[in-house]
């Protein structure tokens, strides 16, 4: 198994690591059992534009790189544009992932959606096309 140069770059020099104090939306997906947890923080302006995105991730090289890339891609986007970011978009931006790591790119998409869902909940709005996160992670129990 080998990672692309882009993946290694985003793993070694991850963009947007950290938290956003008082974030507009926070989403945590994955679970420790399968070895990946992603938490995405979004700062969304009154105009509905994503001004900032940060993440924290427990996981393998691909999990870190996809978190980094997904937060890069989402910055400056409107909510609707953000919803169009799929695992495929993230994967392509990273020049691909080894087959066993594709689930990591799915997690990145899910984490973005979970953060948007949280934002919608907090502001009592509905975002068209957004479904509730499958599983809101919170502990390592089965």
């Amino acid at each position: 198994m080998e990672y692309s140069e882009k993946v290694m770059d985003h793993f070694m020099n991850p963009r947007n690591v950290g938290e956003i104090e008082g974030a507009s939306g926070i989403g945590t997906v994955g679970n420790a059992k399968c070895g990946d947890i992603m938490r995405v923080f979004l700062q969304i302006g009154e105009d509905g534009v994503i001004q900032d995105a940060k993440f924290k991730t427990f996981g393998c090289g691909a999990a870190v790189a996809t978190s980094s890339m997904a937060t890069e891609l989402v910055k400056g986007k409107s909510i609707q544009e953000a919803l169009e970011i799929t695992n495929k978009t993230v994967m392509e931006a990273l020049d691909g992932l080894p087959p066993v790591k594709i689930h990591c790119s799915c997690l990145a998409e899910e984490a973005l959606h979970a953060a948007l869902w949280d934002y919608a909940q907090k502001n009592s709005i509905t975002i068209e096309g957004l479904t509730p996160p499958k599983e809101v992670h919170h502990d390592g129990n089965e």
Binding site: E19, G35, I37, M38, K56, A62, D139, G140, N141
Partner: protein, 402 residues
């Protein structure tokens, strides 16, 4: 960042000893005779294979005629277990093994289950130790074979095989032990172990890859595994890997000779690394038995981080190690060994194995102790599990089931 050149994965494989290579070279060049022939070329290769047989036998207190060469540890494990089971099919179809065996043993047992045998997988305690009492309790009138490894490849725990052997002898059950990780690193005496079958593999003790041996105690009947020619006293067919066998014999005799000194030296390095990690890295847990442990094995779980990402950071610094995390194995489940020891999933994902060998020095240990703590700190900095732990918010770390 300064780049190191650290090989700390000696349990995966070891570099070929230069003297073993030198011993092999003639058999890769001018001494090509097939040992089965009757002319001079054949006689000289036959003699060298038998010399290697004596070297292996001497290192484990066996007789040369009890040593059978194979194409590695995996073949020897397969042969021992399938061969013993098959030879006893009429009377005894039960096998006992442990949950922490190498896949060469576990997958062989699973295969036999599909063929109508029943298998008991003994649990281990939190140190990875199989209790001899549990072996005795599991023995049934139809038990054909017990297979428990001499030392575990992941966590380094040395198993009480000699005590298990007393029990199998008492009950007239065969005992196989996978000594692949032990051979050349801790003393082995097949008589003291009460072993009937014992597996070794050359590439774990500075011999070549693709060659191993099965010890079969005199008088023990097991079915043939490789069918064909009459090689290996008619018990293992196939033209001998002469160069490999010669290299294995040479490497093993060197390892046996150097064992007392190397055992002490490498154990001291291991203990220095263990105490160094425990002193500098919080939330680090040693996996495996602290004392009944292979001299070169150091296995830690670092809470809140995932093993593959640590391996990548280590690799960028020129340090080669391995991990029990699922992500580094290509499956979704972390190491079956750590799971059997009751280590929660997330700690198993954060496990790293460093295995020291004859080339490692105190400087290597110091170099690792210098680069490791900042890497762990960096990964924790980006870990949501660590954040939850610090803020006391999440229970991720505390609630995982055993």
């Amino acid at each position: 960042m300064q780049k190191h050149n650290l090989y700390l994965d000696n349990a995966a494989t070891t570099p070929l000893h230069p003297d073993a290579l030198a011993a092999m070279m003639p058999f890769l060049t001018e001494r090509y005779g097939n040992p089965s022939g009757i002319y001079d070329y054949a006689r000289e290769t036959k003699k060298s294979v038998d010399e290697a047989r004596r070297q292996i036998a001497a290192g484990i207190n066996a007789k040369p005629e009890e040593i059978f060469f194979t194409c590695g540890g995996t073949e020897a494990d397969n042969w021992a277990i399938k061969g013993a089971a098959e030879a006893r099919w009429d009377k005894a179809r039960h096998i006992i093994t442990s949950a922490i065996e190498h896949h060469a043993v576990l997958h062989t047992c699973q295969y036999l289950e599909k063929r109508g045998y029943s298998v008991t997988y003994l649990p281990v305690d939190e140190n990875g130790t199989v209790s001899p009492e549990s072996v005795e309790k599991a023995i049934r009138p139809d038990t054909a074979l017990v297979s428990v490894m001499l030392a575990n490849n992941e966590v380094g725990t040395v198993e009480p095989v000699s005590a298990i052997g007393e029990i199998t002898r008492k009950h007239g059950v065969l005992l196989h032990t996978d000594a692949v990780q032990a051979a050349g690193h801790i003393p082995i005496d097949v008589e003291a172990l009460n072993a009937d079958l014992l597996t070794v593999s050359a590439h774990k003790f500075y011999g070549p890859k693709g060659v191993g041996a099965l010890y079969i105690k005199k008088g023990v009947r097991i079915a043939q595994f490789m069918h064909g020619g009459a090689q290996e006293n008619n018990r293992r067919a196939g033209t001998e890997n002469v160069a490999g066998i010669v290299g294995m014999g040479k490497a093993f005799s060197i390892a046996a000779q150097e064992l007392p000194g190397e055992y002490a030296r490498v154990s001291a390095l291991r203990d220095r690394l263990i105490s160094g990690i425990e002193a500098t890295i919080p939330h680090a847990k040693l996996n495996g038995h602290r004392h009944d442990r292979l001299p070169g094995n150091v296995n830690f779980s670092f809470a809140f981080i995932e093993g593959e990402s640590l391996l990548l950071l280590l690799d960028m610094q020129g340090c080669r190690a391995s991990s029990g995390s699922a992500c580094s194995s290509g499956s979704l489940d972390p190491s079956h060994v750590l799971m059997a020891m009751g280590i929660p999933h997330e700690k198993a994902h954060g496990s790293i194995r460093f295995t020291l060998g004859r080339h490692n020095t105190g400087a290597d240990v110091d170099a690792l102790l210098e680069i490791l703590p900042p890497m762990i700190a960096r990964l924790r900095e980006m870990s949501p599990l660590y954040e939850d732990f610090i803020t006391g918010k999440g229970q991720v770390w505390n609630t995982a089931k055993k």
